[in-house]
């Protein structure tokens, strides 16, 4: 039932917990996981400014979600990593709906409490607009 699982990740505590749930889900249904990390404009600007080359940028970004990737690596679940660019909410929604996932696993809150307060939570918007079932991990 849940074979193709999409895991939204930003390296935060919540996304690490989400990863654990996604792994359990994948194990139960013998499914695969696609980890997505959305990079917004501001991070693009900072990363380009502070990195010597695009290889260093990619390395840094994978470093940011390392905790999640480590969990996946330790499990026996098959997984793939994808870095997307844009506003986290809309980009995630578009990607989820375009690729027929069976389930999206996402943390209830991202990295920055202040951002959540100002913008409303990404997970809330995503849950509303994504067509597949969504598991919001508290």
């Amino acid at each position: 039932m849940y074979n193709k699982i999409l895991l939204a990740s930003d390296g935060s505590e919540h996304s690490i917990r989400s990863a654990k749930h996604a792994i359990e889900l994948a194990k139960n249904f013998n499914g695969t996981i696609e980890v997505v990390y959305v990079i917004d404009g501001q991070s693009s600007k900072n990363d380009v400014l502070q990195s010597a080359s695009k290889y260093e940028i990619e390395l840094k970004r994978k470093e940011k979600i390392k905790a999640v990737l480590d969990l996946l690596g330790e499990s026996s679940v098959e997984y793939e990593v994808k870095l997307l660019h844009g506003e986290p909410g809309p980009t995630l929604i578009e990607f989820a709906n375009a690729n027929n996932f069976d389930c999206l696993v996402i943390g209830s809150r991202g990295l920055n409490k202040l951002q959540t307060m100002i913008l409303g939570s990404v997970s809330h918007k995503v849950a509303k607009h994504v067509e597949c079932p969504v598991l919001i991990v508290k």
């Binding site: 693009s44 600007k45 400014l49 502070q50 990195s51 940028i57 844009g86």
Partner: protein, 486 residues
């Protein structure tokens, strides 16, 4: 030219590009006016520049989705030229800047930008932010509390409105509200109109009225060089940011050439030199602009607004513009570089701070960049010029082995011979170069010198572990310095 590709770049995203272009035009107007005032010219000079550059770059740029116009970095470089020689010299300097940039692009020099280290780039944007901020302080001298509160109101709207809605750019709302208060409240605060006239007409082609002499050329050349360097630096940095945001590549040499063409055209149409803008390009991409069309729409819509609404534009209070510029300064500054200053490698931090310091002292971004590049080159040379020599006695009274590890070149070999014991009582030494690389004549010379000193004491020298490249170099020039009989 690949027609299919060109069509995609122009018309692949019509709706997104048109909407983003309009948003960008609205954000460009206050900045173009404020940058003109920083440079010390009429607002029209910046507005014509933003119009010409945005339109021309739409056709000849190498990075679709990037926005170029009059910028703070360039405006800050022009101040003394305008103060000393006037607008006509600025227009001539703008044209020369463009020619230099075209040469840069034609000679395919964009790749030398990779020699500008990130710590210099961070220093560059930080210095730029500080200078934009300090350029606003003059507007606060001898002002009333009314002016101060209008600046505060502008900033409050800019930063608080996005919490409620992101449908309209908050800087535009701030300017409209503050201008409305100033007009209907009938409060006597300084306006854009006090700083110069807004002419509601399209720019016309003019050849700068300057004496065409060598002396003129020598006056504008240093400015044009600085403008060309800073313009390309910011443009190629912005191109990299847009590349990353859109996950696509771009032609940096074409962009350099495009920036040059845009500046030549701008100079002939009464505009000041400009370059790509990080802030506006980010706004453009976030507003879903990604094609060439968005830059064209931004330029044309900007000009349309000035022609239609020029009468209102002159009534924008300086307080509102100062507020917008403070926001531009805050968002340009790379705050994480200050937060992480103690976590950075010490040399990176020194390079960054030096770049900022030199810009603030000289008021010239290009000098800061040059100093930063030089300093980091020295640090780099110092870092890789560490050479380790370890010795090992292989056979008592007979043979000794020296292992050299590191890069051997002019900076690293100066005290290399001191690390050998020439008075040894062995018959033979082996110099193991497995973990060394010979780079230049100095490296060969140093080895020859070591060999010679050993031989003076009747100790035979053999080499081992030379890699192919080093062997080749040694064969080519080895023995020369020894033969010359030092």
């Amino acid at each position: 030219m690949d027609i299919q590709n060109l069509k995609q770049e122009w018309f692949g995203n019509i709706r997104g590009d048109v909407l983003a272009g309009i948003v960008v035009a609205l954000a460009l107007i206050p900045e173009a006016i404020a940058f003109s005032i920083i440079a010390g010219v009429d607002p029209m000079v910046g507005l014509y520049a933003s119009f010409c550059i945005a339109v021309v770059i739409a056709f000849v740029g190498g990075r679709p989705g990037m926005i170029s116009a009059a910028t703070g970095a360039m405006a800050l470089l022009m101040v003394t030229l305008i103060a000393d020689h006037g607008l006509q010299y600025l227009l001539a300097a703008t044209i020369l800047t463009g020619i230099l940039q075209i040469l840069f692009g034609v000679l395919k020099l964009a790749k030398i930008m990779k020699f500008v280290p990130r710590s210099v780039m961070v220093g560059f944007v930080n210095a730029l932010a500080i200078m934009i901020f300090t350029s606003q302080l003059q507007h606060f001298v001898d002002e009333t509390w009314v002016m101060y509160s209008l600046v505060a109101l502008t900033l409050a709207i800019i930063y608080l409105l996005p919490r409620i809605t992101k449908a309209v750019p908050s800087t535009l709302v701030a300017i409209v509200v503050v201008t409305a208060i100033a007009i209907y409240g009938n409060i006597g605060v300084g306006t854009v109109g006090d700083m110069g006239a807004i002419t509601q007409q399209l720019p016309v082609f003019l050849i700068p009225s300057i004496p065409f002499t060598f002396e003129t050329f020598m006056i504008i050349l240093p400015y044009s060089l600085s403008l060309a360097i800073v313009g390309l630096l910011e443009s190629l940095l912005t191109a990299n940011i847009v590349d990353d945001m859109t996950d696509t590549g771009s032609d940096k040499n074409k962009e350099s050439r495009g920036q040059g063409i845009a500046n030549v055209v701008t100079g002939f149409f009464g505009g000041m030199a400009g370059c790509a803008m990080i802030g506006q390009s980010v706004i453009n991409v976030k507003s879903e602009g990604s094609g060439r069309l968005s830059s064209l729409v931004a330029g044309v819509f900007l000009m349309f607004l000035i022609i239609a609404l020029g009468g209102i534009v002159v009534q924008i209070p300086m307080a509102a513009l100062a507020g917008v510029m403070i926001m531009v300064a805050i968002s340009t500054f790379d705050w994480s570089s200050v937060k992480n200053l103690n976590k950075l490698p010490r040399t990176d931090a020194i390079v960054m701070v030096t770049t900022v310091g030199i810009v603030l002292v000289t008021h010239d971004l290009s000098k800061g960049v040059l100093a930063g590049v030089l300093l980091s080159a020295i640090f780099f040379a110092a870092k890789i010029s560490k050479v380790a020599v370890t010795e090992e006695l292989v056979l008592r009274e007979q043979k000794k082995l020296y292992r050299i590890e590191g890069q051997l070149f002019f900076a690293s070999v100066s005290d290399l011979p001191d690390k050998f014991n020439f008075e040894d009582s062995v018959k033979e030494v082996e110099i193991d170069l497995t973990y060394a690389h010979l780079w230049d004549d100095s490296a060969i010379g140093a080895l020859d010198k070591i060999e010679m000193k050993f031989e003076q004491n009747n100790i035979k020298v053999v080499y081992s572990g030379l890699n192919n490249e080093s062997m080749h170099l040694k064969k080519r020039i080895g023995g020369l310095s020894k033969a010359s009989g030092h």
